[in-house]
């Protein structure tokens, strides 16, 4: 259940930003979550909901944009979605590829005032 640690990191970062930007109310925290991170979106939402209670983020919603894994083939140069974690070019079957998305674990933006 490392999602709870991740949820707490998100809250700490948002609280820093609230201080820096003089925000008092956060409606939503929008994050991007790559499929390669091994972090479960439902467990993260649950951990976030449980952790914001009685903080200045109470009531804030965690909105998760799940980012699929995409690869770019080093042999044929095309890019493609890596389905089912099969790291194989869907055009030419090469295994020589760069992962271009899927590692995201970022806060993108806040909605608040």
């Amino acid at each position: 259940m490392h999602e709870l640690s991740i949820a707490r990191e998100i809250i700490a970062i948002v609280q820093d930003e609230m201080n820096n930007l003089n925000l008092t109310k956060i409606e939503a925290v929008n994050i991007r979550l790559g499929a390669l991170t091994g972090i479960n979106a439902d467990a993260l939402s649950f951990g976030f909901e449980a952790s914001v209670v009685d903080t200045n983020l109470d009531g804030a919603e965690l909105i998760i944009e799940e980012v699929p894994i995409r690869g770019k083939c080093r042999s044929c140069g095309k890019d493609f979605e890596v389905a089912e974690f099969m790291f194989l070019c869907s055009h030419c079957s090469s295994t020589d590829l760069d992962v271009i998305t899927g590692e995201e674990l970022d806060i993108d933006h806040l909605v608040g005032s």
Binding site: E9, V111, G112
Partner: protein, 223 residues
């Protein structure tokens, strides 16, 4: 009025910055750092016990043993001859993070150390997210587990640089297919180095020791 406020921050930024500091420190001291990950019971502690027994006079090794509770693993490593051993009791946390490793390193004398083993908490999910400043993650799997584990835990096998298949002495008693586990692992990570061994019989351990010695040599030659 509510407004959209762009942030663009990495959620694990704090951990990643600490990990980068650890990596700088270990690189400056030319210490090879391996983060050992596996399910509980795959043989991380046994592998380190064997390695200490065989290599203590050839390699200067330091060890960290992470456990949710008890210092049993650290005690085993000291009994096996470990000179520099730090237990890390996470008190419930399912993984080590860079902050725990930083604190443990502060209390270790690293002068002359050539290899640092970080034995993570037995868990194939959570430790994959936390960079500890290691040179590489080494994932262990044993032949009493399913040979589809790489497919079930792709994140960990993708982020590891080597896979050790332990308990090869039990192959004849299980349905574990060594060729299938390799195929599964390479479908996730084509660059994965694979070693097969048995801590119990000693089969395959020489190749593991030789690989360690080679990594130490290469790290010393670098820069």
């Amino acid at each position: 009025m509510d407004k959209k406020i762009p942030i663009k921050k990495k959620i694990l930024n704090k951990n990643d910055e600490l990990a980068a500091d650890i990596r700088r420190l270990l690189n400056a001291k030319k210490i090879v750092a391996l983060n050992l990950v596996s399910s509980p019971g795959s043989g991380k502690t046994s592998l380190l016990e064997k390695t200490l027994a065989a290599m203590n006079d050839k390699l200067n090794m330091a060890l960290m043993a992470g456990d949710v509770q008890t210092e049993n693993d650290a005690r085993r490593l000291m009994q096996a001859g470990g000179r520099i051993v730090r237990p890390i009791v996470t008190g419930g946390a399912c993984h080590l993070d860079a902050n725990m490793v930083t604190k443990a390193l502060d209390e270790m004398d690293l002068d002359g150390v050539e290899v640092l083993f970080i034995e993570n908490v037995g868990n194939l999910v959570c430790p994959s997210s936390f960079d500890l400043g290691e040179d590489m993650k080494v994932v262990l799997i044993s032949t009493t587990e399913g040979d589809d584990k790489p497919l079930k835990y792709p994140s960990m096998f993708r982020r590891s640089s080597a896979m050790i298949v332990n308990k090869t002495d039990l192959l004849e008693y299980s349905d574990f297919d060594i060729e299938r586990v390799k195929k599964n692992a390479w479908s996730i990570n084509v660059d994965l180095k694979i070693l097969e061994l048995s801590c119990r019989t000693g089969e395959g351990l020489e190749a593991w020791y030789a690989w360690l010695v080679d990594m130490v040599k290469r790290k010393k030659q670098r820069g």
